[in-house]
């Protein structure tokens, strides 16, 4: 088989896999959450140990912690 053809098949295969991923991703995000789970937020207990920089739950948790610290500092200044 020609070398260029192998690359074309390889890239085609990756595109198919990518398309499957996009399809499942859209399906997952379009499917409504079960009753009572519509507004689930990340829990502090679960996110506390994880230092995954790219995770948006961690970002949410960190911003929440920063706000708390700011409020505590303000409270101390007032006292």
């Amino acid at each position: 088989m020609e070398t260029w053809l192998k690359y074309v098949i390889g890239i085609g295969m990756l595109l198919i896999l990518g398309a499957i991923f996009v399809f499942t991703f859209i399906l997952y995000h379009k499917m409504p959450a079960p009753k009572g789970c519509e507004d689930i937020l990340p829990s502090e207990g679960k996110c506390h140990g994880c230092k995954e920089v790219g995770c948006h739950f961690n970002l949410y948790y960190n911003s929440k912690e920063e706000k708390k610290e700011e409020e505590e500092t303000k409270h101390d200044d007032v006292n």
Partner: protein, 198 residues
């Protein structure tokens, strides 16, 4: 190979990947979810089951993909990209099933489910299977053993952490610090099994 020795070597492979080469405590893969989720036994158990499921199905798809498509075509260097896409799709499918059929489980870790994609244990096992040239059966044994090893260790870890919460820990060691020390002691304990079979 006759059936009985094959079954014995299959079971031995499961035991080896589960206990001796434990994915978390010996190979240090999947530490993030191990520390992050491993503070409640129930959510740890659910996470372990989901990771085991994803590892097994990834191995089931990725081994034939490498052996019958990527390698014969002479493009084995594309394996990591292909594996990542397979794992990511599988995680979405697992998420779909959980969302549809188990609201309790979804409530437990639904929003954390997509994070299994970034669990390096899954990619590590699949990549290790093809890099070491394992047969299909041994790849599946390795995947199953790794998943079970992860499941057992995350549950044991969660149980120890729950017990630790009730104890008086020095302030400097509270939270993640004592969790890491616990994981280190567990890892050293697992090293005691390293001589088995040699």
């Amino acid at each position: 190979m006759t059936t009985v020795p094959y079954i014995v070597s299959f079971l031995l492979a499961i035991f080896t990947s589960m206990m001796i080469n434990n994915v978390v405590l010996s190979r240090f893969y999947g530490i993030c979810s191990f520390i992050g989720i491993g503070n409640k036994v129930k959510s740890s158990f659910s996470m372990g089951i989901a990771v085991t499921f994803v590892i097994c199905f990834s191995a089931l798809i990725c081994w034939p993909l490498y052996t019958y498509v990527l390698n014969p075509l002479g493009i084995p260097f594309m394996d990591t990209l292909a594996y990542i896409l397979v794992i990511a799709s599988l995680v979405q499918i697992v998420g779909l099933f959980i969302k549809k059929f188990s609201p309790t489980l979804y409530k437990g870790f639904g929003i954390y489910l997509p994070l299994i994609t970034t669990n390096c244990a899954v990619l590590g096992v699949v990549q290790g299977n093809t890099d070491s040239g394992l047969s299909f059966g041994m790849s599946m044994a390795n995947a199953l053993g790794t998943g079970l090893g992860y499941l057992v260790m995350i549950c044991v870890f969660a149980f120890i952490r729950m017990k630790l919460e009730g104890n008086q820990t020095p302030k400097a060691f509270k939270g993640v610090a004592i969790a890491l020390i616990t994981a280190a002691i567990m890892s050293m304990a697992m090293m005691g099994l390293s001589g088995i079979g040699s």
